[in-house]
């Protein structure tokens, strides 16, 4: 195999799709921007009028913003975890998934913390968090952990992009705009894939993989502790940190499967993202759904069995007011994916994707049930107050901003895919080299 020719072929194949703007993608981007604009309008209103225009009140001080925050940050940490783990596999099939996971990791970590800012009633005092931090507060540590993790994820994402930037710099054709070439050149930092550069790059990617796995666990643990270090019924739990990590991995794998499906379908990448990838991801989702189901059962069973009146009141609320949400989140969201994924014949691309959608939706509802019902059932009974002060219902402002966050995630994803191939070219070449060497009977030193 002539590597240079193959690189040129692949660059041509991917660059043409990167440059091409179909009417469908224009509409898609237009819709996303429209949703974001509505969200921005809602944000301006919220900034001017305060939290009065949201459903959050004295008792339920956290609403769907914090749920979105936990959800997105969970996806990010699971992405970081999976991405770090994938790096240590020498199997070529990881190549089709790795970039999706890396982009997902960074983008959800960019979008997620925006929701925590929306929870702050006085955004004008945001800088106080940095000026007067309380070092013993898990919130301070969460900010530090998120910033450290975000920085690490950006570095990691960039490191994995460098070989492709170099290929795109060296093999871009005449039709490639100059600005694009300049950016590729700048970002490639004179990488020429020499053995010395290759070794150095691989070494630091290895270090960063380890770092982001550790950071993902630490940061999501700290996030779980924000809840579990309080004495609130439904939050005060010793297993909250591992429960959050498993839940994050569960939703993260779900989002990866959904992204794989959409990218495969709309970018016509069937030859790179194959059924085997879906089956592999589906089995991981099955294992995680079993673990998540076990943790959920252990969590609610111990609450039900305890003699704490707060827990009993909470469970009563969950099984009355939030009955269907509870069933959908903790039964359907776990049992349906388990059912589909455990039967071999049902492991088709579509059904695996449907399982992933159910898992992700169930997870979001699970987060909702962790946050809202607990705040609605405080230890002291609430008296002489208006109904809307006790019970929470998200307003259009909150829904708009939530949808804007999701739209921003997809928009950034789409824009990144317009700039760099979603399947790493360097990875494809490595994989092909590996297969060729295997055919020849040579031992491949992959890295």
């Amino acid at each position: 195999m002539n590597v240079d020719i193959r690189k040129r072929e692949l660059v041509h194949e991917f660059l043409s799709s990167l440059r091409k703007t179909s009417s469908l993608s224009t509409i898609w981007i237009g819709v996303l921007i429209a949703i974001i604009l509505v969200g921005l309008t809602a944000f301006v209103l919220q900034f001017l009028k305060g939290h009065e225009i949201t459903g959050m009140r004295d008792n339920v001080v956290w609403g769907i913003y914090i749920i979105n925050f936990i959800f997105f940050v969970g996806i990010s940490y699971s992405g970081a975890f999976i991405s770090g783990i994938l790096h240590f596999f020498n199997n070529p099939w990881k190549n089709s998934v790795s970039r999706i996971v890396e982009i997902m990791t960074v983008l959800s970590l960019v979008v997620g913390p925006i929701f925590i800012l929306l929870c702050i009633g006085r955004l004008d005092r945001l800088h106080y968090l940095f000026l007067y931090p309380r070092i013993q507060s898990p919130i301070t540590w969460d900010i530090i952990a998120i910033m450290t993790d975000l920085f690490g994820c950006f570095i990691y994402l960039y490191l994995t992009f460098i070989p492709d930037f170099a290929i795109l710099r060296d093999h871009s054709d005449e039709q490639t705009p100059k600005w694009r070439k300049k950016i590729y050149k700048f970002l490639a930092i004179n990488y020429h894939d020499t053995p010395s550069q290759h070794k150095r790059l691989h070494k630091i990617i290895g270090i960063m993989s380890t770092m982001i796995i550790a950071m993902a666990i630490v940061a999501y643990t700290v996030l779980a502790w924000i809840f579990s270090l309080t004495l609130q019924p439904g939050w005060n739990s010793t297993i909250f940190a591992p429960y959050f990590i498993i839940a994050g991995l569960y939703s993260g794998v779900g989002v990866i499967i959904i992204s794989m499906y959409l990218i495969r379908k709309y970018l016509k990448l069937e030859q790179y993202i194959r059924k085997i990838h879906f089956i592999g991801a589906g089995i991981v989702l099955l294992i995680l759904s079993l673990l998540f189901g076990y943790f959920t059962f252990a969590e609610y069973f111990s609450r039900w069995f305890s003699h704490s009146s707060g827990n009993h009141l909470l469970l009563e609320t969950l099984f009355t007011k939030y009955f269907w949400e509870f069933i959908l989140a903790n039964y359907m969201g776990v049992l349906i994916p388990i059912f589909i994924l455990s039967i071999k014949k049902l492991r088709t691309i579509k059904l695996i994707t449907i399982s992933a959608v159910i898992a992700v939706a169930g997870l979001w509802l699970n987060r909702y049930l962790i946050v809202i019902p607990t705040l609605e059932t405080p230890f002291l009974p609430i008296q002489d107050t208006r109904e809307e002060f006790i019970h929470y219902t998200a307003t259009w402002v909150e829904w708009s901003l939530s949808l804007a966050g999701i739209a921003a995630f997809f928009l950034f994803f789409t824009l990144i895919m317009k700039f760099i191939p979603i399947i790493p070219i360097s990875g494809i070449i490595k994989g092909e080299k590996m297969i060729e060497n295997k055919k020849k009977g040579k031992k491949t030193i992959f890295e």
Partner: protein
């Protein structure tokens, strides 16, 4: 007439209690549905006074869990010798159905030749409730409780004896005794044994909680003995320990300062992560420099 009014008051109070306790069956309830439990016992208390106590309870014949105290019933207490009955006094039952009469140490009861005192408690009956009577025969037991510390060993010594008509002490044997310490709600049993030849000795354990001054009340108790009834003796001594209230933890999330170990551990962790970031960036710069050299060579 007076007696008639008294009887009416008694029945009315009984029915009133019934109606208060279980209003749903108040219309159908009367005293005939209840079997009367008339229990009489005596306690020789720590100060050597003697308490005579009657518990007067009505138990539903159909539902044994349904028990109602007989309130305001007059109980007369007698001291009997052969056919002679001496009225000691009378007491009315409380809302719990308890009637008590207490006699100081120097009160002299009529005894038979064995030194046995014969007590009788009697309720004379009303139209609704039959007469109740119970007899009790006890010997006057003298219980002494000595608390000594011998060679750092804390000893609880119990002496039990009766006195004959000449005032001679007769040690008792085969009498069960319980050593307890007083606690907030009840007495905590430390030892249960038998008095032989009038004595019993027990080593007081260490670490028994006392009050703020370390004082602990030690009881020697003889319970429901066939000959002596209930006899109690109590002494207080500074043998207990003070269980200090647990101090509030100095460091909490809402206190002003975080624990030192938290600063150290988390700083090490964070510095460790950021050092790796710096190391990575350093290698990126080197990577770029290597590329610069290759570019120069190519040119």
């Amino acid at each position: 007439m007076k007696s008639y009014l008294y009887k009416c008051a008694l029945i009315t109070s009984f029915i009133a209690v019934l109606s208060l306790v279980n209003t749903s069956i108040a219309q159908e309830t009367d005293a005939s549905d209840y079997r009367m439990l008339f229990k009489f016992h005596t306690v020789k208390q720590s100060d050597n006074s003697r308490l005579l106590e009657v518990s007067f309870i009505g138990m539903n014949k159909k539902n044994k869990k349904d028990k109602l105290p007989v309130y305001d019933a007059e109980i007369k207490f007698f001291n009997r010798l052969d056919e002679q009955e001496v009225l000691l006094g009378a007491s009315k039952t409380s809302k719990e159905g308890i009637a008590q009469l207490s006699f100081k140490e120097d009160h002299s009861f009529i005894t038979d030749t064995d030194g046995t005192i014969n007590f009788i408690a009697r309720f004379e009956g009303t139209d609704g409730i039959d007469e109740q009577e119970e007899e009790l025969r006890v010997k006057d037991l003298h219980l002494e409780l000595n608390l000594k510390e011998v060679d750092s060993t804390r000893l609880v010594q119990v002496y039990a004896f009766t006195k004959d008509s000449l005032g001679n002490k007769n040690p008792v044997s085969e009498t069960d005794v319980v050593i307890s310490v007083g606690s907030m709600l009840a007495k905590m049993k430390l030892e249960e044994s038998t008095i032989e030849d009038g004595t019993f000795e027990f080593e007081f354990p260490e670490g028994i909680p006392g009050d703020v001054d370390g004082n602990v009340s030690i009881y020697s108790i003889i319970e429901d003995h066939d000959d002596f009834g209930n006899v109690t003796k109590m002494k207080t001594i500074n043998w207990g320990i003070l269980n200090k209230q647990p101090k509030e933890h100095a460091n909490m999330l809402w206190t002003h300062a975080a624990p030192l170990w938290m600063y150290i551990v988390l700083t090490i962790m964070l510095v460790g992560v950021w050092v790796n970031y710096v190391y990575t960036i350093f290698h990126l710069i080197k990577l770029k420099k290597e590329g610069d050299i290759i570019n120069l060579e190519t040119r």
